[in-house]
Amino acid sequence: MISRRDMLKTGACAAAAVALPRPAGAQVAAFAPKPGAWRDFEVTARLELPANGKAQAWIPLPSMREDKWIKRGKSGWETNALSAEIVRDQKYGSELLHLVFKDGETAPRVEVRSGFSLRDRAEDLATKSVVPALGEADRKLYLEATELMPTDGIVRDTAEKAAAGKTSDLDRARAIYEWVVANTFRDAKTRGCGTGDVASMLRTGNLSGKCADLNALYVALVRSVGIPARDIYGIRVAPSKFGYKSLGTGSDVITKAQHCRAEIWLDGYGWVATDPADVRKVVLEEPPGNNTLDDPKVVAARQALFGAWEGNWLGYNAAHDLVLPGSNHKVGFLMYPQAEVAGALLDCLDPDTFKYMIKSTELTA
């Protein structure tokens, strides 16, 4: 059993490991996303639901409105549903396609196609620029606690320790990023992208998981010290052009390629890209695997993923605690297709039973 005390010990060891100098002659791998040409994509999600009763489905659509790195295109669908409508969540602005199938439909199905364009992003964190202030409503929204991301108690205590001695928001956010990278680890056995129950992670000392755990932890920690932050839920749509096998897709079938990334708001910089969870993914998965923190590929990813990310990932939305329209069911975040048959939610982490398939096509040459 892992106790919180063990976790803190582990954290100390991990932090010590980080401080070790790199071996002489170690090469720094290239992972350097920079804003450049836009790439056009289309993602197709196909659902086929069991005919065991009245069915509804909800499919996330690209909803982020951030012209620096994503441009939304059109979404279209083919279905035998009784009704199909785009529903926009008032709080977060997330959009989904809500389908209701008629009672007795023998083969409920839908195919949704979403077009969008992406490009790399990177902030020059050495230089502040003139950036409009974050609106009060957004500041409040991206500082508040969610059901799974409290911002008080053990979360704030942990963040304050991680950022001790730092004064600027940039330095505090970076210190917390380094703390998350040093103290968490990716667990290949975690189903899907994880759950993101931040309080349970900190309290039990089990700081393992996947992106929805590790980046949610980062977002909650950063929010707890007064820096706006958000988790963006999405899906990888292309291989990494930097040669990182772990940070891109392996084929055009992306059914299990969901991934979330984190953003922090820094006055003078705007929304800044971060992704501590992907650093831990490189540690665990980048061939040959189980890499050390001073492996050049890890070092490069760790340096880049505070301030930059690659444009091979579609961000759907930054919503939390969504009640699915037309249903009593609530989801902590909307990254997977959801469906309800005879009043019971299907397991979105089990696409083969659900069932659904998602494909990505790059339209630009």
């Binding site: 059993m1 900190l202 309290r203 039990t204 089990n206």
Partner: protein
């Protein structure tokens, strides 16, 4: 044990001498165990509240369960999730406790915030001998002020709050067994004649 003096005795006078005596007995027993043992039960602590919250939930593949109907045996209410690694290990030890026999408490395992299908798949591979309740919208977790998983509560046979732990436990350890054995074993007078209701 300064920690055990504080809030749980505040307001106890309002409930009269009988309840205060009971609480003092319970607290003394638990304190003795905490002092005299090491290991998992170090994390067992008194549950400083006067009455347990309600708990009425759907059961996975069974009829709904109301905690209030279980008066007559000690009850463990265990909040967990299938994604929670410490919970998986703890579930096995809870099942071992359930299998231990007649004197075992009633165990209610409350799945928090997960879809039925996922919970069903989880227990298909790891069947347990107690009911799985479904807190689909986390409302029970909020009502019981559960801040993280796993969290377990122990109620005495009159459903009075007794113990709480926010750490995963080995429920088969001698120290936990001692803490459970220290719960009052005599049915309160007011409940004589009530039938035990098995889970």
């Amino acid at each position: 044990m300064a920690a055990v003096k504080a809030p749980e005795f505040r307001g106890a006078h309002r409930l009269g001498c009988r309840l205060e005596s009971f609480r003092r007995f319970l607290l003394a027993a638990v304190s003795l165990i905490v002092v005299s043992t090491s290991g998992a039960a170090d994390e067992f602590r008194p549950w400083p509240t006067e009455t347990a919250p309600e708990l009425v939930l759907s059961q996975l593949d069974g009829p709904g369960i109301d905690l209030a109907a279980l008066r007559g045996k000690p009850v463990i209410v265990h909040f967990f999730a299938t994604w929670c690694a410490p919970c998986i290990e703890e579930m096995a030890s809870l099942n071992a406790l359930a299998a231990a026999g007649k004197g075992s408490p009633v165990i209610l395992a409350v799945s928090v915030g997960e879809v039925d299908a996922r919970v069903r798949n989880f227990f298909r591979d790891r069947p347990v001998a107690f009911p799985i309740l479904l807190d689909r919208d986390r409302s029970a977790m909020r009502t019981w002020q559960v801040e993280g998983l796993p969290t377990s509560f122990v109620l005495d046979r009159d459903l009075r709050p007794a113990l709480k732990t926010v750490e995963p436990l080995d429920w088969t350890s001698p120290s936990v067994a001692a803490a459970l054995a220290a719960l009052p074993s005599t049915p309160p007078k007011s409940n004589r004649g009530e039938k035990e209701t098995p889970p």
